[in-house]
Symmetry: C2
Subunit: 333 residues, 2 copies
């Protein structure tokens, strides 16, 4: 697979109402988009174990915290992180008043649609682009810009809105965990204010349960109105070893379940599954070229190598999109 | 009043069971430690307004967020911040292995019980002391040290444990707000990890709802065990204009109610009460020398001047400990 070759990026869409599956006893299946199989069994067994008051693995509701990576775990991340697509659109919108951007990277690449150069700059490059295009905005203004963008921005090959490219099985999993007393968090390398503007709508997750990379901000009274202003300076990078640090900073204790898809999630999975007590660590493996995309060891975006090598010995569940998911995306609206 | 003169620091204790007050209709009063009066009326009216679905001020449960300063608002802060007392005790415990501390400030002052010098160094000085005495600890080890200290550490004049010096009316207020769908947060200038170790027990607030000053941390695998380690470097000071920044960083949206007691809370109150919609800002005024302490404009700890000057024109409620609180502390255990 060539991750950055958008011609190979194909989605399959299911249209129409989905029948609600029921099990042998007639109870509604909380995870209807998951195929019966070891991945689904393991997730359900974990939830039953930690919610069984009589069992040895019982966890009190207040301690049932589950953390999810976002890009590639809850929604797609190819051909580039969606936040990078957003940043490129912002550069284009602001370019008329910034003629110097035509000669300065990474703005030049953004204006020329040179996605490969931009993607190679990684999450840090993306953050720099976002910072440069949004410094000076108040937090409220920035959130509104993100929401306005999300209303119309369309994926280059899927031909539907980015916000529709949420994985339906993961959305069901979030609901299922919450129905079982879990508090669900996003722990993303992406920008926290970008995600918080969308997390309610996409995942039913409130802003305070979104942890991500951030820029510094300052408080000021602007024209008589108290505001928080975004500064062009990185505050925190929530990736790799930054993820356990972010979890500790924001949550202050160790979650009992973690879901990721790339080596950027390795330390988070390692930290969360180190116990004590029952723990679940899982990796979404992008092995479905027909319905989404297939990539792992050699991808510029969402590289997964060490996670695949060590999942077995560490007891982490590897979820195959191809085999474990009956449905990938919700029907087009 | 001389705030640092412990001879003037007297508490009055009520002993025995408290009758549960009922109103004219026989319903249990959710705020029995508050005297009937304008402060209690205003708080109850605010809660009724934002929870009345038919009213113009209705706020959906997900947006009912209330923030509380800690020192001087939820528990006492005289003669010195309790975290400073903790840090002094840590210096004393560690001193045998650190002979150089006998000649180095602020350790020298801590070892000599020179509270005035320490208090004058402010919250930043306190943080430096805590950092120096705890760098290298893992987060879990630090939390255990705090809990062990809290079990026995006794206030110099109140002659009861520090953790018993929580204001009962404020504890009731937290419960009352939560019973009405509010999510309650602490937003403190104190160290976040110190507070998080105690917040469940003291206030029924989980660690993830405590915002405070922090040191940087790093993730590492130590002897095969993944841990978060505290570093001797300040990450964030959650005081004054830092409070709205901390609220934005951790919560990501504006609360609808804020409670403070000093000018360190001014910007938080200003930010929260700037609307839109119904808002409540309140200041606990320490005017009760008989039952706790009386201090405001001239205090080294918890100075309150601008807040008093502007509360009226800004519509902030000033709560008189002396007149509005029937009871200050829970009975001694």
């Amino acid at each position: 697979m060539k991750p950055l070759d958008v011609r190979h990026f194909a989605f399959a869409f299911l249209v129409g109402a989905l029948p609600l599956a029921t099990d042998a006893a007639g109870a509604a299946d909380p995870l209807p988009s998951w195929n019966a199989g070891p991945a689904k069994q393991r997730i359900v067994a974990f939830v039953k174990a930690v919610t069984d008051k009589a069992g040895k693995d019982y966890v009190a509701p207040a301690d049932r915290i589950a953390v999810f990576d976002n890009d590639g775990t809850l929604w797609s991340e190819q051909p580039v992180y969606f936040q990078l697509a957003f940043a490129i659109d912002r550069v284009k919108a602001l370019a008329p008043s910034r003629p110097e951007w035509r000669e300065t990277q990474p703005f030049k690449a953004a204006l020329e649609g040179d996605v490969k150069t931009l993607a190679a700059s990684g999450e840090k490059g993306l953050l720099e682009l976002v910072m440069a295009t949004h410094a000076g905005n108040t937090a409220d203004e920035f959130a509104q810009i993100v929401r306005d963008w999300a209303k119309g921005a369309t994926h280059p090959t899927a031909k539907r809105r980015y916000v529709e490219l949420v994985y339906r099985p993961m959305r069901e999993l979030l609901d299922y965990l919450r129905a079982n007393g879990f508090k669900t968090y996003i722990v993303s390398g992406g920008g926290v204010e970008f995600l918080r503007a969308l997390s309610w709508e996409l995942y039913g997750i409130p802003p305070e349960q979104v942890i991500g990379s951030s820029v510094k901000t300052k408080y000021e009274v602007r024209d008589g109105r108290p505001v928080v202003v975004r500064l062009p300076e990185i505050d925190f990078i929530d990736d790799k070893a930054g993820k356990p640090v972010g979890i500790h900073k924001y949550i202050g204790r160790k979650p009992i379940a973690a879901f990721g898809n790339s080596d950027g999630d390795f330390e988070m999975l390692e930290y969360v599954t180190s116990g004590p007590g029952a723990r679940l660590g899982a990796i979404v493996h992008h092995d479905d070229a027909a319905r989404e995309f297939a990539y792992d060891r050699d991808s510029h975006v969402g590289r997964l190598a060490r996670g695949l090598d060590e999942a077995g010995k560490r007891g982490w569940l590897v979820v195959s999109m191809k085999n474990d998911w009956k449905i990938v995306f919700a029907p087009a609206r």
